[in-house]
């Protein structure tokens, strides 16, 4: 028995060796003179924004090999990236979010962008909270594209006029206006019941309830005493109150379908990041006229952000290295930062630019982001992985989503939140 097994093993070694050598051929994929860029920017505005980078590179004679991996909000793209790195065949650059750039830097996979950063004075023009994600051990390892902020309310102007509503300034006014809308037979809050959307709305409530210091303490410093505190219980109470104004069909709804409810006049508000603006603009609506954008009442002084980063992978080829530097230089340049944000719906990550070319919402958003950066209230969004690593973020999602989909009491939710965060960060 064992001898036949041995014979089979020997006979099998030949095809296995052939298989392995075949995979060695597959590695020469990127053509010389081209940059290969892994991303998941495939929808309209995103693709246009990325196209701006491609055009700029073309002016410098650098070819573009797009490597889009759509779906799963980047999950699929990251899976592809991991397999490329594991097989020692990294792309030139990749679009990543949040702590992923730090994780890759810790594995010593990334090119340093220090030269470009020094020449472009990045240390001065990018705000500290962005640098926290773009630098690792004091070295620049990523080029930030933009600032997206998540504490926005998007409102249907004609419905507000019809109901005689003013833009709410306080949390109580905010709730009262949704009640008015609901009494008039509309949906108060357009809501998408997916974990990340639950968490996006929840972090707005936490910020509005506890203020910037509390948000930082609970969501960024992950202080167990803040997580299981009376303020957190009150946040859950307010969150529960807010949830009364969503409609019954919200579970599982995509964010853009919730935005469509505001566009179509079915719902009054949506709490969502500024990418929602793209949906309004695509529908041919004018900011400040057909739809309103304002900071979630109670969070006017602070900005919670996320920011796309471009990381470059270590490469022995000198041509690739110089192309990586050119690409980083373009991404950090003032013109590109503005052009990119115009397409993407965000605001520039640099704080030294003029906002003249941006639309009305982005103009305001940009000034607020600058002010927040100065007053140290520009803080990473928990729901988008800029407050804590992915494991903690998802532990928060678990509790917040369970809270939304059950009648869990607020104090239990706060206690569970503290426990889940502790479990995930251990």
């Amino acid at each position: 028995m064992t001898t036949t097994l041995n014979k089979c093993l020997v006979a099998g070694a030949v095809p296995l060796a052939m298989l392995l050598s075949a995979s060695a051929f597959a590695q020469q994929s990127a053509t010389e003179g081209d940059v290969e860029v892994l991303n998941w920017w495939t929808s309209g505005g995103e693709a246009k924004a990325l196209g701006a980078l491609k055009d700029q590179l073309a002016e410098d004679g650098i070819g573009w090999q797009n490597m889009p991996v759509a779906g799963g909000a980047g999950t699929n793209a990251m899976a592809v990236l991991r397999s490329r790195i594991t097989s020692n065949n990294p792309p030139t650059a990749a679009q990543v979010l949040g702590y992923d750039a730090q994780d890759w830097a810790d594995r010593d996979s990334l090119s340093s962008l220090d030269d470009v950063a020094e020449a472009g004075n990045w240390g001065e023009v990018f705000p500290q909270p962005i640098q926290r994600f773009a630098k690792s051990d004091g070295h620049w390892i990523a080029a930030p594209f933009e600032i997206h902020s998540t504490n926005w309310v998007w409102a249907n102007t004609s419905m507000m006029d019809e109901l005689g509503l003013e833009q709410p300034e306080t949390w109580d006014d905010f709730i009262a206006s949704m009640k008015t809308a609901q009494d008039a037979g509309h949906t108060g809050l357009a809501y998408g019941g997916q974990p990340w959307q639950d968490a996006t709305v929840f972090e707005n409530v936490v910020l509005a309830t506890g203020g910037a210091d509390f948000y930082r303490q609970a969501m960024i410093d992950l202080d167990p005493e803040a997580l299981d505190s009376d303020t957190m219980t009150e946040s859950f109470d307010r969150f529960r109150e807010l949830l009364q104004y969503k409609d019954d069909n919200s579970p599982g709804r995509d964010w853009n379908l919730a935005t469509a409810m505001v566009i179509n006049g079915d719902a009054l508000y949506q709490i969502m990041g500024d990418w929602a603006k793209g949906e309004f603009l695509n529908a041919g609506l004018e900011p400040e006229q057909d739809f309103m954008c304002f900071r979630t009442p109670g969070t006017q002084e602070a900005v919670t952000f996320n920011s796309d980063l471009m990381i470059m992978f270590k490469n022995d080829d000198e041509q690739q290295q110089s192309m990586q530097n050119t690409m980083a230089e373009i991404i950090g340049s003032p013109e590109f930062q503005v052009t990119f944000s115009q397409f993407k719906g965000s605001v520039p990550a640099r704080t030294d630019l003029s906002a003249d070319e941006l639309d009305a919402c982005a103009k305001r958003g940009y000034e607020q982001a600058k002010a927040a950066a100065d007053s140290d209230t520009l803080m990473g969004s928990m729901a988008h992985g800029y407050a804590a690593p992915a494991s903690v973020k998802n532990a928060v999602f678990d509790i917040v989503s369970s809270f939304v989909n059950s009648d869990m009491p607020s104090d239990v939710a706060a206690e569970q939140l503290a426990m889940a965060v502790q479990g995930a960060s251990s």
């Binding site: 099998g12 296995l16 990251m78 019954d248 069909n249």
Partner: protein
């Protein structure tokens, strides 16, 4: 083909001896490496500190204890238990019932059999998406009933965290029942008619014939059906993803969706590997005794 020279007879014999091994060896090696090799690899990973990428530092049972203290894992295990039990029992009972009814020498049996078997031809993604539309209160059944004038009609299990797992059971049962029916039908056709006739002559009522004679003889079919259904239940993933995405919240998370989420979106490869090994152990506990009994029988 002309006769080979007699001097080459030995070579030909050797070739005949080696050819089957040579032909089979690639698949043997591939299976050995990609199935059993990676089972070992995954098991090792579950004892390592792997996060975003595999990391081979040994951390003992830390990932396992984190797995068992995870909130979602508790939900996933509860769900797979509820789902698995209801799925297996309902499919078996309905499948047997349909098979018995179809076995009454009725007209158009072939057409009916095809209709019942048809859902099995669909992938779980199609089944899940279709049922998601059908059960979504804003799109499907509930809305249709409302627009037909039955305003008080309500069926919102899909978006109710406590009931959502049952909608998945409904869709899964719809898909698999026809297949189980076909298995039972084959079993019924294989039963010796003489025995039934003898019972009928003795004046036994039909229900007794089924209860005492026919169903006990279907024991191997039951066993096969349960093993097929059990492993389908444990590896269920696509149906959940298409129908509920694991939601509302985590209400319909199952071990397979748990594993996917921890491996790919939570950067917790170690915990994901531990959950995968656990699932493998459960399936092995079900399948190995079955295979053992099946492979032994012919010899006895």
């Amino acid at each position: 083909m002309s006769k080979p020279p007699s001097s080459r007879g030995g070579a030909r014999e050797r070739l005949q001896h080696w050819l089957p091994r040579l032909v089979l060896s690639p698949s043997f090696v591939l299976v050995l490496f990609f199935v059993y090799g990676f089972i070992l690899w995954t098991t090792y990973i579950s004892f390592s500190g792997s996060g975003m990428m595999p990391d081979y530092t040994w951390v003992g049972t830390r990932q396992w204890s984190r797995l068992w203290s995870s909130w979602t894992w508790g939900i996933a295990l509860h769900n797979i238990w509820v789902f698995g039990l209801l799925y297996i029992v309902t499919c078996t009972v309905l499948g047997l019932l349909l098979a018995i009814l179809l076995d009454q020498r009725i007209r158009a049996e072939g057409t009916l059999r095809t209709i019942y078997l048809y859902p099995m031809a669909l992938s779980f993604i199609v089944t899940g998406t279709a049922w998601q539309w059908f059960l979504n209160p804003g799109l499907g059944l509930e809305r249709t009933m409302h627009s037909l004038g039955w305003e008080s009609f309500s069926f919102n299990w899909l978006i109710d965290a406590n009931m959502a797992i049952y909608t998945v059971v409904i869709a899964a049962v719809w898909q698999a029942t026809g297949f189980i029916m076909a298995m039972f039908l084959a079993g019924l056709r294989g039963i010796d008619g003489e025995m039934i006739k003898a019972a009928q002559i003795d004046g036994a009522p039909t229900w007794k014939i089924y209860g005492r004679i026919i169903i006990p003889q279907l024991r191997p079919v039951f066993l096969s059906a349960i093993v097929v259904l059990a492993h389908l239940a444990i590896k269920s993933f696509d149906l959940i993803v298409a129908m509920t995405g694991g939601g509302p919240g985590n209400a319909t998370a199952v071990p397979a969706t748990f594993m996917y989420s921890y491996a790919f979106s939570r950067n917790e490869m170690g915990i994901a590997a531990a959950s995968a090994v656990f699932m493998l152990a459960v399936i092995a506990a079900l399948i190995i005794p079955y295979l053992y009994s099946e492979l032994r029988e012919p010899r006895s």
